[in-house]
Amino acid sequence: MAIEEDRAVKAAQDTVVRETDQGYRVLGSPEESITHQHDTDRIPRRDITEEDIVDSAGDPESWLTYGGNYEQHRCTTADVITPETVGDLELEYELHVGAESSMEGTPLIVPGDPPVMYQSNGPNHVKAIDAREGDVLWSYTYAVPSDVVLCCDDNNRGVAILDDKVFMTTLDSGVVALNRYTGEEEWYTSTADHESGYSATWAPVVYDGKVFTGSAGGEYGVRGFHVALDAETGDEVWRTWTSPDEEWVGDSIEQSCATNWMTATIDTENEKLYMPVGNPGPDFDGSVRPGPNRNSAGTLCLDMQTGEREWFHQESPHDVWDYDSAAPRMLIRDFEVEHRDYADDAVVSLGKTAWSYTIEADSGKLLNRSEPGVQQLNMFRMIPHIDEGRRMPFMPGAMGGNDWQPPAYNPELGLAYFKMNNSPQEAWWRFEEYEEGKKYWGGILEDEIDQPPEGYNDHISAVGAVDPETGQLVWRDWIDSDAYIWGGLLTTESGVVFGGTQNGDVIAWDGESGDRLWEYSTGDTAISGSPMSWYDPETEKQYVAIQIGGSGWLRRGTAGRDDRLCVFSLEA
């Protein structure tokens, strides 16, 4: 059956994402969620265990969790592609997923004959795909309520897999579990009231029989939380507010935001979760939420069994620049930091502040802060009040630095790779000029500025490498464009780094030197997806998959929509 006749795809196509003064609205979604089956018999019946996911870190044939492994290194051990061979990489196939919507996801691969890919995109559309042939096996579209309001597009960044299920967060702040073999709904759990501003866009993660999922709505005055659900039933196991009451003044906690809107990193050995946490609320008017607003804009560590808070490392205290710390954390085992006489597990975080932080995994103590990945101009200066009559462009702007774009880590080279924006913005704080119906964040954020700050180098974004031990910026490749860079990175253990750009290029860099080794133009549309890779022993090829298409934020969202999944291959 052709994809044109796919009812779930049709439903996703009929869903319209409209930007309003209050954010993005999702309209025209189906009344009920739809599964369309094509060839479900082709999916090998082999339940995926937690052990499989743990082992997938060293398994070149698997990509079983959002970050490639629980530690979120986004590093494949498949070794067909090397710096020497990557120049021969070719397009294997292009699949049109059918819905020209947000394409920020990372597909997963379950090894087998054939390998099955689970790929998702906006608006809450997921497919099972024969990854060898590029055939859709089933597809599913979730019925998103029309009163969901989203800050930044109808994003969905990926799914999780365990046993016979695939789990997807839903835009109305829920999690849906589907039968992995049939695409049919098994359970749905709402984690919060979307009418209060909550939503969900990230890939959940599963371990210890639990689905771990967070919260979004940091521009809508919600209170951030993280929640564990029973993977079998969807029942809530525990729930933790990201911020404790005693860290905020009075009722300001009620709209403290500090949402956890990207995937948690799982420490299977110590049964801990390390998660990114976003901006405090409201975004720009700090006077209504005095104090450092602890547990916002940094890394939160929770006990996996109880949800109890262990520590919090803050990157932007009392933030007034929307400096979420959103990118997934990378857990590095037995990490040696010679100049600190440290040899134990470390958590590496790349934030909107443009620094990379290397933190003791046990305590949250900072071991090392890197050189800035991009320019810091007028940074940490209090944004002006409207009556001061002056504009103050600041860098990094509200998109970072490193926003949600997942970094990658190559344990062989000991380098972490990032995608950062280098774009000034202006913000100011006001009450007096509030106009009804206009989005208002305790201030105004302006991304089309009159004058860049003095010293701006005119490069809008960069891809680079940082050494988490020393904090040294090892290499940096400036990327120029009219739009900002989005999407994550992939590294091969052999030393190649892959990423898409806002100009529609897929690039392979030498992980050690930053030299460009291979480039492929997919057209003019931006790439917002994060690449991943696997090896198929049947074809003896290593594949790299990446979703092509933009996503929107603040009117400078990467221009245009696309609906392609590009899969590249190289034969051994």
Binding site: G221, P282, P290, R369, M379, F380, F431, Y434
Partner: protein, 300 residues
């Protein structure tokens, strides 16, 4: 500016606000000098605001509790030099309690004021920070008999005492951003219902900053310099002086003490202003550690 220096510009702004001729005081005037020179006329509007607050709160506040906790708090403020000398809290897995100990009695004061509805009364009775209100506050503060002695007891020297008053006068613009909750438009994107009263934000915010110093300094030890610690010492000390002023005013209400009604308002407004201005300073001095400020790393 809140640094401990008294600049010529700062002094001029202060004397202008107090209606004092610049030639009547020295280059770095002391509080006593200012007090001798300033007019002694009481502000009737201030007096009526103060009276209303006294009427609201006289029966709600526990004088014994306030007196004992204030005494304990002031003992803690006097310990600040040894806290500074300790530098960065020690601890293998978590920081020892240094700064948190300093503010423990202050939290008990704060909790009592919250329970008593103290901040709601101030919200209702006091205006927002306008230049005029701030000038009048400074005027009354300078005339507050006990202020200088109390600050002496807390370990403030003459220069520091003047700087505290300058904090109030010379930060009109910054203080104007801190709007009483009742004056925030109801249709802003955040829920005004969840915004605490202004003076609660001032006092609670200051205590939160001090409270988090232990974990902040301990976690960021590799970035922290002696200069950061020195600046933080002053910011903490100044914030706590602001908190102390608010608590003293509350005690005066509970005991029907010696402050005039207008001085009561000055202590409350001035205390809040000092707490606010210096919590904005501690962000820049201690928490927002830029590349230029940071302790260099031996690794690069």
């Amino acid at each position: 500016m809140t640094r401990q220096q008294i600049t010529i510009d700062g002094r001029d702004e202060l004397t202008d606000a107090l209606g004092i001729s610049r030639s009547d005081v020295g280059e770095r005037p002391t509080l006593s000098e200012l007090r001798r020179t300033v007019e002694t006329e009481t502000d009737p509007e201030f007096a009526s605001m103060g009276e209303a607050i006294r009427d609201d709160m006289a029966r709600e506040l526990d004088a014994d509790l306030l007196a004992s906790e204030l005494s304990a708090f002031e003992e803690q403020i006097a310990r600040l030099p040894e806290v500074r000398d300790a530098g960065i809290p020690e601890g293998a897995e978590e920081p020892e309690t240094l700064y948190r100990e300093v503010v423990q009695p202050a939290w008990r004061l704060y909790d009592h004021l919250v329970e008593a509805g103290f901040f709601e009364s101030l919200e209702e009775r006091l205006p927002r920070f306008t230049p005029n209100h701030i000038e009048r506050t400074a005027h009354e503060l300078v005339r507050l008999d006990a202020l200088s002695e109390e600050l002496d007891e807390l370990g403030f020297d003459e220069r520091e005492k003047t700087v505290l008053v300058m904090n109030v006068v010379n930060n009109n613009t910054r203080l104007a951003r801190w709007v009483p909750t009742k004056e925030i438009p109801s249709d802003v994107e955040f829920d005004v219902e969840h915004v605490p009263p202004l003076h609660k934000r001032a006092m609670g915010g200051a205590l939160l900053w001090v409270n988090s110093m232990d974990v902040h300094l301990w976690q960021k030890e590799v970035l922290v310099t002696e200069e950061i610690l020195d600046d933080g010492y002053w910011d903490v000390k100044a914030m706590l002086a602001g908190v102390d002023l608010i608590a003293r005013a509350a005690l005066d209400i509970a005991e029907d003490g010696a402050m005039s009604d207008s001085q009561l308002v000055a202590a409350l407004t001035g205390g809040a202003a000092i707490a606010i201005v210096n919590q904005e300073e501690i962000c820049k001095d201690v928490y927002w550690i830029t590349e230029e400020m940071r302790n260099p790393t031996p690794a690069r």
